[in-house]
């Protein structure tokens, strides 16, 4: 029988990871985790996750940086906040997941065309540019940028139904005062650097 090491030695971990995350908004309480597992048992997505939420929190606390940031879990969180309202230690778990998503995005550690972050970025881009989202254009951008042309074809019958009931328009929505939005985005970004 081959003996395989399953756990990391301490020197392979990133002890500074906890501080790195607690600095991000909404993550201050993470140290309080008592590993009760209420989050994992409440999460509707647990069954699809590689590491359930409780394990992600333990990873953050103990310096398992790569494992946490590479996890599929953070992208599966639909922000339903069930874990967050039930957590006895009052950890803002949904906000922790958001923070990990941002960190992973910043460091580009997910496949470039992975559909979930593509949707997030595409929607943010449209809003920063036009001030308003346009559903049809968001969907087109999503399918093109995640390279799922076949998936787009499969959506066509639904698209037709929505058009027939007047629920899908070709119009590009936009606000009037785009100049103000641009000034705001610029001001926020400048200070962040």
């Amino acid at each position: 029988m081959k003996i395989e090491r399953k756990v990391k030695y301490e020197e392979e971990l990133y002890p500074g990871f906890l501080d790195e995350i607690t600095e991000m908004s909404g993550c201050r309480e993470i140290e309080r985790c008592i590993q009760c597992g209420t989050c994992s048992s409440s999460c509707p997505m647990s069954v699809y996750m590689d590491h359930p939420p409780r394990k992600i929190i333990a990873m953050v606390k103990n310096g398992f940086r790569d494992e946490a940031l590479r996890s599929f879990t953070i992208w599966l969180c639909p922000s339903c906040y069930t874990c967050q309202v039930r957590c006895p230690a009052k950890i803002k778990i949904t906000d922790v997941m958001y923070a990990l998503k941002r960190k992973a995005t910043e460091e580009k550690i997910y496949p470039k065309r992975f559909v979930i972050p593509v949707l997030d970025r595409e929607m943010s881009r449209i809003i920063a540019k036009h001030g308003r989202n346009s559903e049809l254009w968001l969907i087109l951008g999503l399918y093109l940028k995640s390279r799922r042309l076949f998936g787009m074809l499969k959506m066509a019958p639904l698209g037709l139904k929505l058009m027939k009931t007047g629920r899908l328009s070709l119009r590009r929505e936009s606000i009037k005062n785009k100049k103000q939005l641009r000034t705001l985005v610029k001001a926020v970004k400048e200070g962040a650097r």
Partner: protein, 294 residues
């Protein structure tokens, strides 16, 4: 004088325009006509917090500022807009250093926010300010015999709200009862519909919606009543695929609470956006004409 500015968000101008088409006549009927917030921008929903949380709060700050200048509170019927605006409002009015920086940036852009605006959901206003007793007295066409599964979803009741319970809310059930319908004991009422995952990872989305529809069917519901555009969309458009994938007929109409309430208050059926339903509504109309009798 009306204190509210109506914040539609992208959905109520897009695929869920029947939510707008029904919420406006309902509020007119109860004497609180809604006026749209001038030049509002999108809230960013869950997407913006995954990309840049500072910008996410800032763009919501612009909306709050517009409402403040107009001396109005905000009514946001979309649960996503409601949560995002409330979350950003709480953050922007906090003592965090980052919040002070965003407030300064808002001022630079000519949309200063002093923190005086409250963000509310129509259901919250109907419950706390109008009162379900008053609504009951205004009902002209009770929805007798309608068995409804009241579905709250996630973002209305968690965690930035205080008007109902986060796990087992009851306000929508009480409102539907006031309209004459019979709310079934829908235990999945705050279980997640998958949100945008239905559009990204279909396998997950189908399963979650199947769980919800199956539970509604099992409890004998004739339709599901929703307060959120994304819930309504997911529950409605996944039905054909669910039938194919799980081999079970869980099809049923998915309607907005405002459509049902409008009907009960006597608004003309044609003016409530029912024609936008993808699922056939005939079984419900049969009930309406017979007053629930078989």
């Amino acid at each position: 004088m009306n204190r509210y500015a109506y914040f539609p968000g992208c959905s109520l101008k897009g695929n869920s325009r029947h939510y707008e088409e029904s919420i406006l006549p309902v509020f007119r009927e109860i004497g609180l006509p809604l006026e749209e917030l001038e030049d509002w921008n999108c809230c960013g929903a869950t997407a913006y917090f995954s990309v840049d949380d500072t910008l996410a709060a800032a763009i919501c700050g612009r909306n709050l500022s517009l409402a403040e200048q107009a001396n109005r509170d905000i009514i946001a019927p979309c649960a996503g807009c409601y949560l995002t605006l409330r979350k950003s409002n709480a953050f922007l009015t906090s003592r965090e250093a980052k919040a002070a920086k965003i407030r300064a940036d808002l001022k630079t852009a000519g949309c200063e926010y002093r923190g005086t605006v409250a963000v509310k959901h129509p259901l919250e206003v109907l419950k706390n300010e109008v009162g379900f007793d008053k609504i009951k007295s205004m009902v002209r066409r009770p929805l007798a015999g309608w068995n409804v599964a009241c579905y709250y979803g996630c973002q209305l009741v968690r965690p930035y709200t205080d008007f109902d319970d986060p796990d087992y809310p009851t306000s929508l059930d009480a409102l539907m009862a006031a309209a004459g319908a019979r709310p079934v004991d829908f235990t999945a009422k705050t279980r997640c519909c998958g949100g945008s995952l239905t559009g990204t990872i279909e396998e997950v989305g189908l399963r979650l919606n199947y769980i919800l529809l199956k539970e509604a069917k099992r409890k004998g519901a004739d339709c599901v009543v929703t307060i959120c555009p994304l819930c309504q969309f997911n529950l409605e458009v996944t039905q054909d695929k669910i039938v194919k994938r799980f081999g079970e007929d869980i099809r049923m109409p998915i309607l907005y609470f405002s459509q049902l309430l409008g009907l009960a208050l006597g608004v003309d059926k044609k003016d409530l956006g029912f024609s936008r339903s993808i699922v056939p509504l005939q079984p419900l109309w049969n009930k309406l004409s017979t007053g629930g009798a078989r």
